[in-house]
């Protein structure tokens, strides 16, 4: 079970269950449909807005950036706001570059990499490890998938909410509720699939 919470697209996985209180059998069908679509993804690029809200903070902290994926192993999240920061995960290494700090490379299995790892699993079309209680509801043109980990812990999200476009199966947003009331939300836009990526896309600065 990932300590940072099963993340993102564990959600996306269940992002298939549409309809209010979608019956579990229908949810399974949708899940298969979703994963089938993901497995056809060789590349993916999307813009995102990252919003972190915590008790005691006067206002949420907002960041913006770009998500790039190349099957099967490469995943990069690079930030324009703040500029120059990125997180990149490949087959063996998780690299973080933050402003004013030396680049930090850790093994791909490090706890800090679990979130990105789970995201990558979903993009590959695989269900990430972990046991979740899943509920799916249909909201207008979207599915809202809510995941609650069966195994709570101090370093895992307590709740994950994902909004999936009912037609395109694309992830619109994801919200992680962390311990002590902190919420981390991602909103995605300008999604492109299976386009050609430059060879230097995943080269680290």
């Amino acid at each position: 079970m990932n300590r940072s919470g099963i993340f993102l697209l564990l959600a996306a996985l269940s992002a298939t269950g549409l309809a209010r209180d979608l019956a579990s059998s229908d949810a399974v069908v949708l899940e298969k449909r979703f994963f089938a679509a993901q497995q056809k993804t060789r590349t993916l690029e999307a813009a995102f807005t990252q919003t972190i809200s915590a008790h005691g903070l006067a206002s949420p902290t907002i960041s913006r950036g770009q998500l790039i994926y190349r099957a099967p192993d490469d995943l990069r999240i690079s930030y324009q706001v703040p500029p120059g920061e990125l997180m990149q995960l490949d087959a063996g290494t998780f690299t973080t570059i933050r402003t004013g700090r030396a680049p930090l490379a850790r093994p791909a299995g490090h706890p800090s990499a679990r979130a990105l790892g789970a995201l990558r699993d979903i993009l590959r079309g695989n269900r990430p490890p972990g046991d979740m209680q899943v509920s799916v509801t249909r909201q207008a043109s979207n599915y809202l998938v809510v995941l609650v980990p069966s195994t709570p812990g101090n370093f895992q999200p307590e709740r994950i909410e994902n909004t999936i476009d009912a037609d395109t199966m694309q992830l619109r947003s994801m919200s992680l509720t962390l311990p002590r009331g902190t919420v981390m939300r991602f909103d995605f836009s300008a999604v492109r699939r299976n386009h050609v990526l430059p060879a230097t896309t995943f080269r680290l600065p």
Binding site: M1, I52, A58, S63, V81, E85, P111, S112, N154, F155
Partner: protein, 1057 residues
């Protein structure tokens, strides 16, 4: 009732009953395995200390099966936790992760206090007002950009970056066990039992079997309950099986009731000894009851069999039996008491228990039981005696085969090589001693699987304070290349460092920080752990003794203080398989106690081997002494030792064939078997001696009882196999094999080595009967053909010496004969040389067979007195050549024939017709005829006719066979000479020439014709005539005997009065 008519007996029984009842009610059960092991071993102390200090004496662990998926484990533990929390006897239930998470700040503070001052300097710098303000102001910026959820949560826990890296929180949820603390202490096994029963009753049904309890209270409750049950089970099973065995043999149960009644008092006597000397029974000594029943019944069975046999009124038999029972009880009890010399408390207890019980058994059997059976003698079934006689006959008929087989068996010990560490007889692993099927042990194994540091070597370090221990920890880590001293020291307190760091800490830090967080608008979600951290340090700086009290459950597992001083638990990664360096620790001021079953196994093995050798030597010495006292004969002591060797070899073969190996406990118990073997051998040998070697009578007395006592002992030792204690099971199986080996060795093999009867006739001995056959002579010829002269010489003299060493009765007879010639030449060495000379004589047959017949003359050296022979031949008469069993008289006839004398040899029938014919044919090659002298008159006519035809007839005179003899005088005694030769000479009218042929030092033979005697009938009559000339012949031959005593071959005593 006859038993209670004896006042002393009644008083004795009442006293034992009273004391036994007191002991049974007040004795404790020592349920843990470690107290059964030597307390001075470092690993025993380490394991005990770890269990007591680090694991918690009253804590119970609920462990989920690690083979289940993590989610399933978590669900089951959550349900179990909810159920158990509701119990009033449960104070709290936590998990290690929760313990850590709720006290992370306090733990960080504690770690900081023990760290180097430079670490605190860095923290103080971070807590400067300006630094605090800046950190809090920068929080939003830190949350922007490339931050993952793990980093966000970490930031909330420690926004100021104060916590040391060594307390990284666990990255997994609860690993799969709960820590359950009782509401009140658990002072004894009854409290343990009540608490554990309540817990087990509350565990949800679907968690049953998947969530198990472990910890000291669980072991205590389970094992003490099991011990009580095991004792009852063993005793009931043993009693039942003993009753069945007794009934099979004796077809009655009423006397068994009396026997069991008296055995109960023996059990109580053993229990009293345990209560007085030890105060408790441990997991090993609970087996004493069934063992004592099985072994102690031996004496009662022997007594019963005596009174049930036709010999019950024979007082000499009863006295012999009683004496044998007492000596064997003393020896067996001594064997058990010797266990008190071991280093193992478990065996010390067992030894005293059983030894005392055995003595009581022997006393009750020969005293009380004798009274009962005398009053109403039983009748053993006749079939027992018929079967015994049949068995005796079978053993007698195959005595030689059994003796040879026993020798071969004994020699196989050099092939088995039990002394070699690679033989596989001994397996030192202590895992075999741990109970199987115990939920508590299963849960403990699950706990170890869940422990991420299962491959670590764990140690308990002890010293006068923690600064000393920290030094020892550093030295310890230096012995392992992969160990990180800093990581080891992080969790060991340092009194000196704490004092120095507290000096540098501002006790008002928490107040200031709380204001800073409030000013920054950050609530407890951000400030909680940091303020907990500083509050603990503030309290410690203000000398608050309870500053870190919340960490007690967590810290106790790593370091602390108790009545024995300071301690710390350290772990060396990946060192579990080699926890102790080969050359030791070499650390002076601290003690390093391994918490390791691996090092314990090594220590126990070394100790067990040391104890084994020590006990074996002491046991053998005691047995030799007791046997010597009992039997007063070196030969009998040697036979007892032979029984031990044969039993040991059989025992080893049983182990090898069944794939059984010895554990450390059963290895140390082997000296016990020595006592049990001698128990049987003593009975058998004393009975054989009393019956003058008559095996039929001996078996009448002993075969059935020994067989039954062997079975009862096997039942007694085997009953512990029903318990859940592998240590007892292995011990019992090993002892059973030993007893089986002892019974076979003492009852079947040993009698083959006891002289058949007391008349000591060498012709009844197996050696003579086996070798003095046609095949023996043919082997001689074959040996010469393939081995040549030197090989034949070596073998013949070796066999001769072997005969001398193994036939003491014959040696005595030979020495008596030699003493009649010259007492100064009648020693053991002379007798052995005589045997070797005779053996070489037989070997000469082979020499003769390899040479042309004419060359036999070349074997002659000096010839003397041939004029007497020439005179007889020139006279045209025959001649009677009379000699004794001197030198190689056979050669004389062959030589004489080659020299042209017409020779005929007179011989008695050999033991077999084939041999008679073979020797006659052999002589015939050299032209010597043979006449076999029998009890019919025709042989006499044949001899007289031969003489009258001019034959030279050779005859022996010094071993009369038909009673026609006269006594003749030797230098120091009298023997009888046959009058036969004189009578033949008178009838044939021929002379007598006494001759002798002896081997000289140069290897040639000296032939000497001593006189020319012409017998004539004397007027005094036939008797006087025969006496006169027989003594004249003897007078000529005796000097030859005296000159070559070691070539005068007689193997029974010839002395006559």
């Amino acid at each position: 009732m006859a038993l209670f008519r004896s006042l002393p007996g009644t008083l004795f029984l009442v006293a034992v009953a009273g004391a036994g009842l007191w002991a049974a009610l007040t004795i404790r059960f020592e349920t843990e395995l470690l107290p059964a092991l030597p307390a001075e071993l470092p690993s025993v102390r380490g394991l005990a200390a770890f269990t007591r200090l680090a694991a918690g004496e009253n804590e119970v662990f609920a462990v989920a099966d690690p083979r289940l998926p993590l989610e399933e484990r978590t669900r089951l533990l959550a349900a179990t936790r909810a159920a158990l929390t509701a119990l009033p006897s449960v104070a709290s239930i936590t998990t290690p992760a929760e313990q850590f998470e709720t006290q992370s700040g306090t733990l960080a503070a504690w770690l900081l206090l023990q760290a180097d001052s430079s670490v605190l300097d860095g923290v103080n710098a971070s807590l400067a007002p300006a630094a605090v303000a800046q950190s809090l102001q920068s929080l939003p910026a830190q949350l922007a950009g490339a931050i993952d959820p793990f980093a966000i949560v970490s930031l909330q826990l420690d926004p100021l970056g104060l916590l040391p890296a060594t307390i990284d929180p666990p990255d997994q949820p609860a690993p799969g066990f709960l820590v359950i603390t009782p509401s009140s202490p658990l002072p004894d096994s009854a409290a343990d039992d009540a608490f554990i029963t309540a817990l087990r009753g509350a565990i949800p049904a679907d968690s049953s079997g998947k969530v198990l309890l472990t910890g000291r209270p669980v072991f205590n409750a389970d094992i003490s309950r099991q011990m009580r049950g095991d004792i009852i089970l063993m005793v009931v099973a043993a009693v039942f099986l003993l009753a069945v065995a007794f009934w099979i043999f004796y077809r009655t149960l009423r006397p068994l009731g009396w026997i069991m009644f008296l055995q109960l008092f023996a059990l109580l006597a053993g229990l009293v000894a345990a209560r007085v000397f030890f105060g408790s029974l441990n997991v090993i000594s609970i087996g004493f009851a069934s063992i004592l029943l099985g072994v102690g019944m031996d004496y009662s069975i022997l007594v019963y069999h005596h009174f049930g046999s036709p010999h019950r009124d024979d007082q000499s038999v009863w006295r012999t039996l009683r004496r044998a029972i007492w000596f064997s009880a003393l020896i067996t009890a001594a064997a058990f008491y010797f266990l008190a010399l071991t280093s193992f408390p478990a065996l010390q207890q067992l030894g005293v228990l059983v030894g005392t019980g055995l003595l009581a058994s022997a006393l009750l059997a020969t005293w009380q039981l004798q009274i009962i059976l005398s009053a109403r003698p039983p009748h053993a079934p006749p079939i027992l005696f018929r079967a015994s006689r049949g068995a005796a006959g079978l053993v007698e008929r195959h005595r030689g085969l059994l003796a040879g087989g026993a020798v071969f068996l004994a020699l196989t010990i050099f092939w088995l090589q039990p002394w070699s560490s690679s033989s596989g007889f001994y397996q030192p692993g202590l895992d075999r001693l741990r109970p199987v099927g115990s939920d508590a042990y299963t849960a403990q194994e699950w706990l170890q699987e869940l422990d991420p540091a299962a491959n670590d070597a764990v140690y308990v370090l002890r010293g006068k304070n923690h600064d000393v221990i920290r030094g020892a920890a550093t030295s310890t880590a230096a012995r392992f290349p992969d160990a990180d001293p800093a990581a080891l020291l992080a969790r060991i307190p340092s009194e000196s460092q704490r004092a120095a760091n507290l000096q540098a800490w501002n006790p008002d830090t928490t107040t200031r920080l709380a204001e800073a967080f409030q000013l920054a608008g950050l609530g407890p979600e951000w400030s909680g752990p940091t303020l907990q951290f500083t509050a603990a340090l503030d309290a410690a700086a203000r000398r608050d003794d309870r500053a870190f009290a919340a960490l007690d459950p967590l810290l106790r597992t790593t370091a602390g203080k108790d009545a024995d001083g300071a301690y710390a638990v350290i772990r060396i990664p990946a060192a579990a398989t080699t926890p102790v360096p080969e050359d030791g620790w070499n650390i002076a001021d601290a003690e390093i106690l391994p918490v390791s079953w691996i090092s314990l196994t090594q220590e126990i093995t070394a100790l067990a081997q040391h104890d084994f050798y020590r006990l074996s030597i002491a046991m053998l010495a005691a047995i030799v002494l007791l046997c010597a006292l009992a039997q007063r004969s070196l030969r009998m002591v040697a036979l007892n030792l032979l029984a031990i060797v044969l039993s040991a070899t059989l025992f080893l073969w049983l182990l090898r064939l069944t794939g059984t190996s010895l554990s450390p406990l059963s290895l140390i118990s082997l000296p016990l078997l020595v006592g049990l073997v001698v128990d049987y051998s003593l009975h058998v040998l004393m009975a054989l001696k009393n019956q003058r070697g008559d095996l039929v009578k001996t078996y009448d007395h002993l075969a059935a009882p020994i067989l039954l006592t062997g079975i009862s002992a096997c039942i007694g030792f085997g009953a512990p196999a029903l318990t859940g204690q592998p240590a007892l099971q292995n011990f019992g199986l090993v002892m059973d094999f030993g007893i089986m080996a002892a019974v076979v060795a003492c009852l079947v093999l040993l009698p083959a080595f006891f002289p058949r009867s007391t008349n000591h006739d060498y012709r009844d001995h197996g050696f003579y009967r086996f070798f003095y056959r046609k095949r023996g002579f043919e082997w001689i010829l074959l040996g010469w053909r393939f081995l040549g002269r030197r090989g034949a010489w070596l073998i013949s003299r070796t066999l001769g010496l072997f005969y001398g060493l193994t036939h003491p009765a014959t040696v005595r007879a030979v020495r008596d004969n030699l003493a009649m010639l010259n007492p100064a030449q009648a020693g053991f060495a002379s007798a052995c040389r005589l045997f070797m000379n005779q053996s070489e004589n037989f070997s000469t047959y082979g020499r003769l067979s390899t040479r042309p017949t004419s060359e036999v003359v070349d074997m002659l050296g000096f010839r003397e007195g041939f004029e007497h022979l020439q005179r007889a031949r020139d006279g045209g008469q025959g001649c009677l050549l009379v000699t004794g069993h001197l030198g190689f008289f056979e050669l004389g006839g062959l030589v004489m024939a080659q020299l042209g004398f017409p020779m005929t040899a007179l011989t008695l029938p050999e033991p077999s017709t084939a041999l008679t014919e073979w020797r006659a044919d052999f002589r015939a090659r050299w032209g010597v005829e043979t006449i076999v002298v029998g009890n019919h008159s025709f042989s006499v006519l044949d001899i007289v006719r031969s003489l009258q035809n001019g034959a030279f007839v050779a005859s022996l005179a010094d071993r009369p066979y038909d009673g026609n003899s006269v006594p003749v005088t030797l230098p120091h005694g009298r023997i009888r000479f046959s009058t036969g030769p004189v009578l033949l000479a008178l009838l044939a009218g021929c002379p007598i020439v006494p001759v002798g042929i002896t081997r000289q030092p140069d290897g040639l033979y000296h032939i000497e014709a001593r006189a020319y005697i012409e017998p004539h009938w004397q007027p005094e009559g036939r008797t006087a005539t025969l006496e006169l000339y027989t003594r004249e012949v003897a007078a000529a031959l005796v000097p030859l005997f005296a000159a070559y005593p070691e070539q005068w071959y007689h193997f029974t005593s010839l002395r006559c009065e």
